[in-house]
Symmetry: C2
Subunit: 365 residues, 2 copies
């Protein structure tokens, strides 16, 4: 059996608590002989800043580069609101994405039937919702240069951010979206603002070309990002796969996550290109939720998004799709049994701590 | 009685139909001696392209500059999807905003009680919703340079858009937001992505400074634009005034509009700076909805957003707040009476065409 090297980066806030439940699952898989994972731990975000005054150390970057997959918790919190911009907690995550070339961010937004009522949307609008947001993650305004604040004198400053996209960046994220759609409901909706942004014009043009050249069997639809956002709120079930740039993806995937009423449940995968020789791709898996400093350390956090992110690692990095299905089924079964962490509590449900939820999922497995 | 000069720019799609209902209202106000409006008409968007191969002619720009207020319908449609970028329908609207210095875009998102059930959100989440989005409208990625597509050879192109904000631009839009909050529930939420964008860092810094210097009596809160979007979907009633940049404002105001279930009802105002001498400000008023080419020319369009936009003109450009209140009350009364255009139809309601709705509001006045 192949040994897989995992780097665990719990980060800040509830990160360590939810990561502990993944560690429990890994230990069990190893003990049962179901898989062979070697894990290392590292520091990222505020935790790295407190230890080394950086958002991630060179040592941990080296571990990240060597790992077969990175399991990432969450970063940030008011404690680090005043640290210099270059070493703010988020910088560690952004560096991992950029330096490891993790250009494809997959964010499924799924409404668990047991939780449909937790959505602020009407049950009929979200019940059965299952969409996949494919967000470009290493380009756009996140990394474009210049990115500066200049003092103009007279009390005036000028801030500049630059949105840049090259053809190949749009092509490769398009292919990820079309490939996923083929395994789903065969429809891709591309979102941009071509009526205002040149990057939107190019985005639209390249998606159209990739589709015409390689994916005629998939339905491609274009929506402006603003009306796309509207449609997401109005009638989300019209979508299958949504592909969009880094910044629109940030907004739209958060909104999609909120629609489901299951924010604490949603995983994400960030993938690099497949290496022609090794057939491997770098990858990082993280929950969609943040570090939730307000509830950190209290055993209140929902570990499902984190465990489910590990499930995505099994599926996308280790070709263990069946095991991933079992993890998903265990989560669904535990929810159906009525167990609930505080964020998803409802009348008649059984309250569970972070640990109790993690243990219940393991037992179900 | 002062004479007010209005430029009517109906534009494309349903624009002319809904504008006709404003014209009807203006004629009546003139005939009754309640006000004295002089109106001119101009072409914008696809209509201008069809006539002159531009998105707005120099002649109409001159009229716009000379007018006391511009009443704008909507632009765009599939008919003009393939026209050159520089003369696409939206360019006319963008030029009006930029050349007239209309930096402050006010977008109220109000949930009419009679329509709460039309929202995809649960009634309790949106009933009574009344928020004001203040969007910066002449800066940011909409107008920053460079804004280019370059051919790199080898089938590769590079698209660049530039987000630029200067201190004074953030200060003046901040003041608009704080001033509005003072007349409302005294709370401003500023949204940006300071964890990723330098313009977000400056935006946050300047808002904080303006608040500390001039508006200590107002509550100021900062949210990241992605979690702000989430909160808008989860619990919109937590907001009073939201102030944000051009692109985030585009997305967030559309989402807020959709929450209300009343997209066909929502007006907007775009205002310039107050002239020190004349005390006047340039202004443009337009519905939040688009040109809806699919229903154009069928008498199906809802004229309420357009009429309500004219109401905002009365309030913000002509100091006729009382008359504006009467227009709002007439709209509410007609809705309460059960009259509905197709977009807001519901069981037991009386169906109305565009014209019937316009006439009913006039009768109510
Ligand atoms: C933490 C932050 C830098 C990040 C982003 O903006 O990408 C987060 O919001 C996300 O969506 O993963
Ligand atoms: C038509 C388009 C250019 C415009 C914008 O993006 O600002 C519209 O979406 C709006 O919100 O007024």
């Amino acid at each position: 059996m192949a040994t897989h090297k995992l780097l665990l980066l719990p980060g800040d806030g509830i990160g360590p608590e939810v990561m502990a439940e993944v560690q429990r699952l890994i230990d069990w898989l190893n003990a049962q002989g179901i898989a062979k994972f070697e894990t290392e731990q590292g520091l990222v975000g505020g935790a790295a800043y407190d230890a080394h005054k950086v958002s991630i150390s060179e040592g941990d970057m080296a571990k990240a580069t060597a790992a077969d997959a990175i399991i990432f918790g969450a970063v940030g919190g008011p404690k680090w609101d005043a640290v210099p911009y270059e070493v703010r907690p988020e910088a560690g995550l952004l560096r991992l994405r950029k330096d490891l070339g993790l250009f494809a961010n997959l964010r499924p937004a799924v409404c668990y039937p047991a939780l449909a009522d937790a959505s602020s949307l009407k049950r009929e609008a979200v019940e059965g919702l299952d969409i996949m947001i494919v967000r470009e993650l290493t380009g756009g305004v996140y990394f474009g240069e210049p990115k500066t604040i200049t003092d103009l004198g007279n009390g005036q400053k000028r801030a500049v951010d630059t949105q840049v996209y090259d053809t190949y960046e749009i092509e490769r994220i398009g292919r990820v979206a079309f490939d996923l759609a083929r395994k789903r409901r065969n429809k891709v909706t591309s979102m941009e603002k071509r009526n205002v942004m040149k990057s939107g014009v190019l985005w639209n043009e390249v998606m159209t070309a990739v589709h015409a050249r390689e994916y005629k069997d998939v339905t491609l639809e274009h929506q402006l990002a603003d009306s796309g956002g509207m449609n997401l709120v109005k009638a989300p079930k019209q979508f299958d796969v949504i592909v969009t740039d880094n910044l629109f993806g940030d907004m739209l995937s958060d909104i999609a996550a909120m629609l489901t009423g299951s924010l604490g449940m949603l995983p994400s995968a960030s993938l690099g290109e497949v290496d022609a020789k090794t057939k491997k791709r770098r990858s990082l898996f993280e929950p969609v939720h943040g570090s939730a400093p307000d509830i950190a350390g209290k055993g209140l956090a929902n570990p499902i998004a984190m465990i489910s992110s590990f499930g995505m690692a099994l599926r996308y990095s280790f070709d263990m799709g069946e095991l991933a299905d079992k993890v998903d089924a265990a989560i669904a079964a535990v929810l159906a049994s009525g167990l609930r962490t505080a964020d998803i509590k409802s009348e008649g449900a059984t309250a569970a701590s972070t640990t109790q939820m993690g243990e219940a999922i393991l037992k179900e497995l």
